[in-house]
């Protein structure tokens, strides 16, 4: 049968490729061949029978094992008498007593040559930090100090000249009125800031601890002057960027064999831990590195909807369990991990789980790797209850769970 033939200028000629009338036997054979496989009954959804041929030697395909490690060293340490946290604590509570110290590197003064200039008021103003209870009749004195020395032991530098006194926790923000007669020495201090070693806020009466926001204190000077033949009252503020809290030594002092590890709280205790995990076999995967912190059931309950962030840092220096100070540990400034919004509300919160980076265990156990342990810190916790953790000397200590999967064997 003749077919039309079309030749394309730029391509294949498809005219001759119209379906040919094959002998009936050919499609029948094609169909039969296809039917051999295509109509086989598929009893499973594939990929499983291949297991029959996945043969990789007598050691299997890799095994996952979990190891529960307990610390071989744990204690709690104090960051020292000086505390540079975002909260300034001033007051006393039992054996605890603390003072706040300030330093003004540069002053802002009104134009004293302005017409009708007269100082109308001077006061220290500091916003309150969130605190759990209003102090009872806590009276604080604001005074010049003989030094601004964060290395000093409590009570630190002595007060020289009282500038004013105020009740804490009565009005917002915390304000200490200062006599206007102080403006004269203020001018001298402004002229030579080094002539004022420091300022301090300390308890002179009552009990309780108030919490103020660090770095946000202002010394404000109100003054009158004449503008356009009219008397006008203005205020100028001097920021006080330098401050810290100095408190009494923490109690109970750590011994290294305590069954309770105190974390956070008014002394801002830190908890160093050290574990000795087994070396990760070459090529293995670390699937899990989880800290399980167990809180004592008698722990003070947190205020509802209040939580605290737990930070974990690496310790770089060798340390002993008898250590009671943070400084010798040589802790990294950067955190490894931060677990947000931890709160203790009862026995349901008795285990705090902190997921560590799996690479940490590999680093610890690698050849040449350094494992001096971890430091737990509660961020801005000194206005909340401390967390009392069970130590390795207790019956239910902190646990580090490490899970490792050995590598599958190679193809050949």
């Amino acid at each position: 049968m003749p077919f039309s033939s079309v030749r394309s200028d730029n391509g294949l000629s498809w005219a001759a490729m119209r379906p040919a009338r094959l002998p009936f036997s050919i499609p029948a054979i094609l169909f039969a061949l296809l039917a051999l496989g295509a109509f086989g009954c598929s009893k499973k959804d594939g990929r499983l029978l291949g297991n029959e041929r996945l043969l990789r030697g007598p050691n299997g395909f890799g095994t996952t094992t979990s190891e529960a490690l307990f610390p071989d060293r744990d204690t709690y340490v104090s960051p020292g008498a000086a505390n540079f946290s975002p909260t300034l604590l001033v007051g006393n509570d039992g054996v605890f007593e603390s003072r706040a110290f300030f330093r003004i590197p540069a002053w802002s003064l009104p134009d004293t040559t302005a017409a009708g200039f007269a100082v109308s008021s001077i006061f220290l103003e500091v916003p309150y930090d969130t605190f759990t209870a209003t102090p009872f009749s806590l009276v604080l004195n604001f005074a010049t100090a003989s030094a601004y020395d964060s290395l000093a032991a409590f009570p630190g530098a002595a007060p020289i000249q009282s500038l004013g006194t105020a009740d804490a926790g009565i009005v917002l923000p915390f304000v200490v009125p200062i006599p206007t007669s102080t403006f004269s020495p203020i001018k001298d201090w402004a002229h030579a800031p080094a002539s004022l070693p420091g300022l301090m806020l300390y308890t002179v009466g009552g009990t309780g601890v108030t919490a103020l926001r660090a770095g946000q204190a202002r010394l404000r000077i109100g003054y009158d002057h004449i503008v356009s033949n009219a008397s006008r009252r203005d205020t100028i503020s001097t920021a006080i960027p330098l401050d810290f809290t100095l408190h009494t030594p923490g109690t109970p002092a750590p011994t290294g064999t305590d069954s309770t590890l105190i974390l956070g709280g008014i002394y801002d205790w830190r908890v160093p831990l050290h574990f000795a995990p087994l070396a990760v076999p070459a090529g293995s995967t670390v699937n899990e590195a989880t800290l399980r912190l167990r809180v004592e059931s008698a722990n003070a309950v947190f205020t509802a909807n209040r939580g605290v962030d737990l930070e974990v840092r690496r310790i770089r220096n060798t340390w002993l369990e008898s250590e009671n100070s943070l400084t010798p540990l040589g802790t990294d400034s950067t955190t490894i991990v931060t677990t947000k919004r931890i709160a203790y509300g009862g026995t349901a919160d008795s285990v705090i789980i902190v997921t560590l980076p799996q690479s940490l265990v590999r680093e610890w156990t690698a050849a040449g790797g350094v494992n001096e342990g971890l430091l737990l810190t509660l961020k801005s916790n000194n206005t909340l209850p401390e967390l009392r953790l069970r130590s390795r000397e207790s019956s239910n200590p902190i646990e580090l769970r490490v899970s490792i999967t050995t590598p599958p064997p190679g193809r050949f």
Partner: protein, 413 residues
């Protein structure tokens, strides 16, 4: 319905099945042979659909637009620029000892080739072919240690990149030479998900990589009284092998071993048997042996392929009275012995005993020539089985189609 329409309908159904074959079972696994999970992978036939339809017997093929991959001398008759590509969809059914079965399908491009005629009767060519395919996917529930589900995705295999030169010496003698670069790798991604949500998913990458080095293949063809005889010799090449094992934060590298691509040869003949019929046969052997690859997980033996095919040539348009006379018909049968000797069912290494994989296939094919004679489209369909369920725990039946498009410079003149 008259006879002509019935035949047309039957043809339409068959072609529709062939086209839809790779996509038939939506749940099918994407993998090559179940035996490619270990060893060198499934040996591929890097030939076009025409030679595949002849059972793979191509060592004595030659012509202005006919050639095979197995013999570099077969390209010597090419007169123009030729480009050829082949796509092979395959479908398989795997059966286990307890009566379970599952399906899998994949599509492979086993061959891409370009040839050009140069002055002084030289022909130069380049090609990409697939030697073995190690693609697989396995899912397994693991109970060793923590409960997990493991998925293993295997990829890679051997790829062959060939530069070919050939020349005719008179009408009866052709020589050819290949420089064959053995490329590729074997890679497995192991992903392990745990029932315990505290455990992070582990991912391991296992990779065996060998240096890309070349070897030589020498081919010859001679024609005497209608008989064409062909022969090929392949040289041996040692490829340094490096294994990598990577997991999160760690890499382990191990070298010092090697994969030796063995020497081999291919012999075959082709002869007319009737006026339009021609028969061709071939024997191919690659001398794989235990020393080719040091492994506890696979032993090696010689690869052997026996191929036999017959072709009824189509009549020229001016001589034919119907289309059926113009279409060629090709039928073939082949036997392949894989080089892999795999651990028997129940053994975890070759120390527990090995068994080979034997593959039988029948093939059928045809093709059409474009009106301008510059191009061809060939089609083949193969069906067969491989492996012994009693020895290896699973056996396999397969169907695969091949479509080859070949175009020459006549196509766009």
């Amino acid at each position: 319905m008259n006879s002509r329409r019935r035949k047309s309908l039957a043809l339409t159904i068959a072609v529709a099945f062939a086209i839809a074959l790779p996509a038939l079972p939506p749940s099918a696994a994407r993998a090559t042979s179940v035996y490619s999970i270990g060893g060198l992978g499934e040996p591929q036939l890097d030939e076009g659909a025409r030679v595949r339809a002849l059972g793979g017997a191509g060592v004595a093929e030659f012509g202005v637009d006919l050639f095979s991959q197995v013999n570099p001398a077969s390209t010597a008759g090419v007169r123009h620029l030729l480009l050829q590509g082949t796509i092979v969809p395959a479908y398989r059914r795997v059966s286990g000892l307890n009566g379970d079965s599952e399906n899998a399908s994949e599509t492979e491009v086993p061959l891409l080739r370009a040839l050009v005629r140069l002055p002084a009767r030289f022909v130069l060519g380049a090609s990409y072919g697939v030697g073995t395919d190690a693609q697989f996917r396995v899912e397994r529930a693991d109970t060793a240690g923590a409960l997990s589900t493991t998925r293993i995705d295997g990829t890679g295999g051997m790829q062959l990149i060939r530069i070919t030169a050939s020349r005719e010496f008179g009408p009866s003698l052709r020589f050819g030479i290949d420089h064959e670069i053995v490329a590729g790798y074997y890679r497995e991604e192991w992903t392990r998900d745990f029932a315990d949500t505290n455990l992070a998913t582990s991912r391991d990458t296992l990779e065996s990589r060998y240096e890309r080095l070349g070897r030589w293949r020498l081919g010859v063809q001679g024609t005497v009284r209608g008989w064409t005889l062909g022969g090929v010799f392949e040289t041996k090449r040692r490829l340094p092998l490096t294994s990598f094992q990577r997991a999160s934060g760690t890499t382990v590298e191990a070298g010092g071993t090697s994969l030796t691509i063995p020497s081999g040869f291919t012999l075959g003949a082709s002869t007319p048997v009737f006026s339009r019929w021609r028969a061709t046969a071939q024997y191919r052997r690659a001398n794989w042996e235990r020393a080719s690859l040091a492994s506890d997980l696979v032993d090696l033996q010689a690869l052997e392929r026996l191929s036999f095919g017959v072709e009824r040539r189509g009549k020229k348009a001016e001589e034919s009275h119907s289309w059926r006379e113009r279409l060629p018909l090709r039928v073939g049968v082949s036997y392949l012995q894989w080089p892999d000797l795999l651990p028997v069912a129940g053994a975890s290494t070759i120390a527990g005993g090995t068994a080979g994989v034997k593959e039988w296939a029948v093939s059928l094919g045809t093709g059409i020539v474009t009106q301008d004679k510059g191009g061809t489209i060939d089609f083949s369909l193969e069906a067969g089985s491989r492996g012994n369920k009693d020895d290896l725990g699973v056996s396999e039946r397969f169907v695969r189609a091949a479509f080859t498009l070949q175009v020459g410079d006549d196509s766009w003149k």
